[in-house]
Symmetry: D2
Subunit: 384 residues, 4 copies
Amino acid sequence: MRELNVGLIGYKFMGKAHSNAYRSLRLFFDGDVTVVMKAICGRDRAAVKSAAEQFGWESYETDWRKLVARPDIDIVDVSTPGNVHKEMVIAAAKAGKHVVCEKPLANTVKDAKDMVRAVKQARVKNMVAYNYRRVPAIAFAKQLIDKGKLGTIYHWRAVYAQDWITDPNVPLVWRLRKSVAGSGSLGDIGSHIIDLAHYLIGEIAEVAATMETFIKERPLLDATTGGLSAKSRRGVRKGKVTVDDAVLFLTRSDNGALGSFEATRFATGRKNHNTFEINGSKGSIAFDLEDMNRLSYCDATEDRDVQGFRSILVTNATHPYLAAYWPPGHIIGWEHTFINEVHDLVQAIVRNKRVRPDFEDALVCQKVMDAVERATKEKRWVKV
Amino acid sequence: MRELNVGLIGYKFMGKAHSNAYRSLRLFFDGDVTVVMKAICGRDRAAVKSAAEQFGWESYETDWRKLVARPDIDIVDVSTPGNVHKEMVIAAAKAGKHVVCEKPLANTVKDAKDMVRAVKQARVKNMVAYNYRRVPAIAFAKQLIDKGKLGTIYHWRAVYAQDWITDPNVPLVWRLRKSVAGSGSLGDIGSHIIDLAHYLIGEIAEVAATMETFIKERPLLDATTGGLSAKSRRGVRKGKVTVDDAVLFLTRSDNGALGSFEATRFATGRKNHNTFEINGSKGSIAFDLEDMNRLSYCDATEDRDVQGFRSILVTNATHPYLAAYWPPGHIIGWEHTFINEVHDLVQAIVRNKRVRPDFEDALVCQKVMDAVERATKEKRWVKV
Amino acid sequence: MRELNVGLIGYKFMGKAHSNAYRSLRLFFDGDVTVVMKAICGRDRAAVKSAAEQFGWESYETDWRKLVARPDIDIVDVSTPGNVHKEMVIAAAKAGKHVVCEKPLANTVKDAKDMVRAVKQARVKNMVAYNYRRVPAIAFAKQLIDKGKLGTIYHWRAVYAQDWITDPNVPLVWRLRKSVAGSGSLGDIGSHIIDLAHYLIGEIAEVAATMETFIKERPLLDATTGGLSAKSRRGVRKGKVTVDDAVLFLTRSDNGALGSFEATRFATGRKNHNTFEINGSKGSIAFDLEDMNRLSYCDATEDRDVQGFRSILVTNATHPYLAAYWPPGHIIGWEHTFINEVHDLVQAIVRNKRVRPDFEDALVCQKVMDAVERATKEKRWVKV
Amino acid sequence: MRELNVGLIGYKFMGKAHSNAYRSLRLFFDGDVTVVMKAICGRDRAAVKSAAEQFGWESYETDWRKLVARPDIDIVDVSTPGNVHKEMVIAAAKAGKHVVCEKPLANTVKDAKDMVRAVKQARVKNMVAYNYRRVPAIAFAKQLIDKGKLGTIYHWRAVYAQDWITDPNVPLVWRLRKSVAGSGSLGDIGSHIIDLAHYLIGEIAEVAATMETFIKERPLLDATTGGLSAKSRRGVRKGKVTVDDAVLFLTRSDNGALGSFEATRFATGRKNHNTFEINGSKGSIAFDLEDMNRLSYCDATEDRDVQGFRSILVTNATHPYLAAYWPPGHIIGWEHTFINEVHDLVQAIVRNKRVRPDFEDALVCQKVMDAVERATKEKRWVKV
């Protein structure tokens, strides 16, 4: 049994999700390789120590440079906010580690390019955690498309809608600050649907766009406690929201397909409504992350009178990734996308193959995000 | 019982739908006014005679000018392709008739303005058959919005998707010729969702857009028979499709709401998928014409733990228009929108009130369509 | 054009639905036969006169015996409560009229047998208005089954759920009195799903059952006004509910299929939730009347990985009855089942063919209802 | 941190699911107690050794009696077929271990009673793995019911439908043999919906029922290899299916509620369609395991015009169990029910409280199953 040692930077939402993936890998994917949860890293000693115990890491670090330098680490997993990705990733690559990085890869195209260069020079495996490629139903959609089941693609339409900040009292967390997060809905959830479009129907050539910040100011967090400051509670201290609450863009691809994208945190009632539909000359596909074990598929080559969108429960052992889990009809959840992702990563490492989406894929995604921001400012269509 | 005499120009798809509405009005809406189906008009004598008998018209005409001139006609209903609307409508207005016109009102903004002027000068009631305002579920959505149930509107997203011309062998019917239809998806179905947006959330201020014709040429129809010519059948004679197969546009409104619109005839598997969702600060609404007796509504002012989109079967006697029909749960169909429309028209006439959407509303819609075409050509955001 | 003259007894809910069907037949079904709305009949002169005008009947009668005796009537339509069906139907048959009767045919098996005998002796066409056989999606389901698409049938499960009497203040209307209605949920809605089971999967051999009346007493209606009496309003006068609020039964068929049936007026939130699912060795079908233009169909002979229930919008011209109506995707409503029914009836008359379900079919249905009542009383399985 | 040592008997489907639960507990439920995966037990040394490694158990045993006797084990988990539950459970209880047992508790009422007696005498915690009580949406439904949100309960209807043995070539696995499994659909999936009914609306008083075995004989498995024997592959050797493929039953409860239950493995197209609906005087609830993060809820105390079944995504931190997992909208899967279950068990142990459903609950369930079998044989209603 080949072992790969992982070091993880970050221990909150994404840190927990990634930890769970490493911890569960071996139970589900009974292969020739497994991961060892060597070390987790965070700046707050007490918090990271507690996380290490809870999530099952062998050790912890409070300085990410130390983690990256440890000789017993094979893979560095960067699950931090976007503004620190570059430094960490480049250091890890230079140290010869394989690198997994949370999405979006960087806050600028330039940073992303630097990171691509670093992993290429270091010849390390690299992956960006656009985990929705590992939803079995989406991977199955990809198989259908690759087999030509949709024919020529005419339309892509994706809406990634959440509502967690419709309340104006939600404070100015890091995801609402451009200096940390890079952008708002665009980078956080919009980047996912860009990546899915690239995965499923090919690259975007040009875009028209608009972005909006509906709530301009929000209560400040106390810098030390991380909670609402006393003044903020009394409504005195507010800070400016520097990212987009919502972004919409239209796209054209070189192959003639039209795209519609919307990413918003202001779609009241929608929690994690990551949906897309693809229409082609021979069929169509639709997906909704909130019911992620299903794929809707219409086969337009059948007798017209029995055509319709069929709701496929993608839980057969013959569907992507599903042989690792339960019998048909026993659904998996959101966290399993990360387990599948780690499985693909370690397989790529031991077999020395490219794993997708890698940093180059993420760079293409970054360029689209950049084009969306320019198109918004310039109020015109811009090339990617 | 007050009687109003109607003359209808057009006897095909829309002619049949309007005839059915006039014929059924009295049975459902037991009021103080009814319509008399005086005359139907079409150029093909045999066909219009047959339609008159089948649909229940007292007489028929083959020259629309004669119909418009008949003193026994109170209301002229123009259910013809767009390129002849203007002439007919202006003549009818000049003859002092109330006018109903199929949508879109005209093929150009200029024509629409002329038509508005004509009905204003003639002081006749005028209505454009954007019939989806008369879907009970949509009228009920309007009531909820007017009561403030959605709060501040953030998002409008509408997709009107059909697939009836994905087959390249569908011939070059009038709806695919710009000289007759004015535009393709934009005018035929896109105009419906523009009108609904205006009705439900207010006017559009600016747009970015793109349009596409996926299949550039199609078999020609024989000019005399109206069917495929022998040559077309053998694949020899094709003509150019001069309208859009699909149109997508983004909008911004003066009130800050963002809009996404898509109208396509190339969404394989979608038949009459006229759908929209509105997200506001207090709630959201969603609708799908293929299940048109339902409205999805999320009330975000409730306890968060029981929030969700509720599927309301809009069939109570207390819902709009429904007292005219059946007990709760006994659904009505597409054709009933026209019955409701005629009811509102005749009530407006006898009570001398404005009926919406009238020609002025339709002109606003036309301006948006015009802006969409300019935005597409100029590849930039344009003001309406 | 052959004409058939109709006389209708009953002018309320069913009277209106049947009137609409006769009135609309010619507009939709452009065939070689039409119906003439000769006379409508009801005991209240003012009310029936008004209904005649509103619905478009040429004349009216207040004595059904007169209507039945009129030589200008070809078809008698009995749309009255069950306790008077027998007398009217037998008189009509003796007068040589074709007969349509609302369901259930009778309040007892004995009466139903007498009625079958009468129409057989008179050799008149006879039909019972189990109108849901004329839902296009259900007629299409029948086609699929007849083609063997479901293979051997294992399961039938039907739930017809409404909630219109969950409020204890709903008064003791005729449908809640055994002397008039014969039974409650069983005859009113349960009979529909029995008829559908017979239509789609064959006859029921034996049943086990239970029935319940959840609310035992209700406010009395004033015998003269038909409204709540003054005393009832004050909560003083209540009468006993003498029918079932809900009935559930299990069935076995000679062909080995198992059935589950439930009919209730106490399913809070369900308005006209007439649903069934059929599972066979080769496929399954599911239907819901509240979204009646759709049929769910799973084809189990396909590749397992793309299997799923497809949602077919049954609105193509090639689907049953739909050529009479609108283009694909333009849905029809509940009332259209009656138009389709009348179409089939008049075609059967002019072509001298049997029309189904006729009185014999209804008698089989009646026998099942009778078995359900016996099985409930005797607390055991009983043969039909 | 209090530690509890677990020993698990069984390493296949349920063994994997339980292992995953023990392994993941600490990562999600960051409390004051954790479990140590001490030993797993199975008869096949190589297989159980491999499972121990894959699932993360510290050691393994091939003799369950040894496992039960180990002093370092606090909790014995019996995840074996039903015919060996009794012996193992009683031995574990006598050894003073807390006991978790897979459902159904036993193959007979008598055995179940013996097991109840054993755990009572031993005063050990005991739980039966009716894991669906730990679906957050179902636990939330329970909260709504306990708060009186549904009012008086009128109806329960549950269908647990699968299709994994519709293919006649599925061999005679242990679940199809009465001597091992006790019963077929009844015990395997029917018992789940009985337990849910007890949990949500109270105990069942009497039943009428029917059972069927659609495919009477199936290919035999080779006793040594566990696969299809060479003869079976050639279609020569078949054995008798001795359990039910499907079971349907009606119930009445002392509180007047009516119930309909169906459990079948012959519902083509249904994979793990565990569904129920409850109708009460004030509201209704519906659930489907294939979309298990949702609960449909209709509140009938609201304004009638906005009533409808709302689809609640049960993923808030304030919903049952969800604080342990991800942000709203990030759904969990089937396996999480076991993690929740283990959490409740260890909390009960350390706090010395009763955990439900325990053996007494399971005995009540067993009595209903027994009544269903008697009712089927005697073809009449029988008391539980």
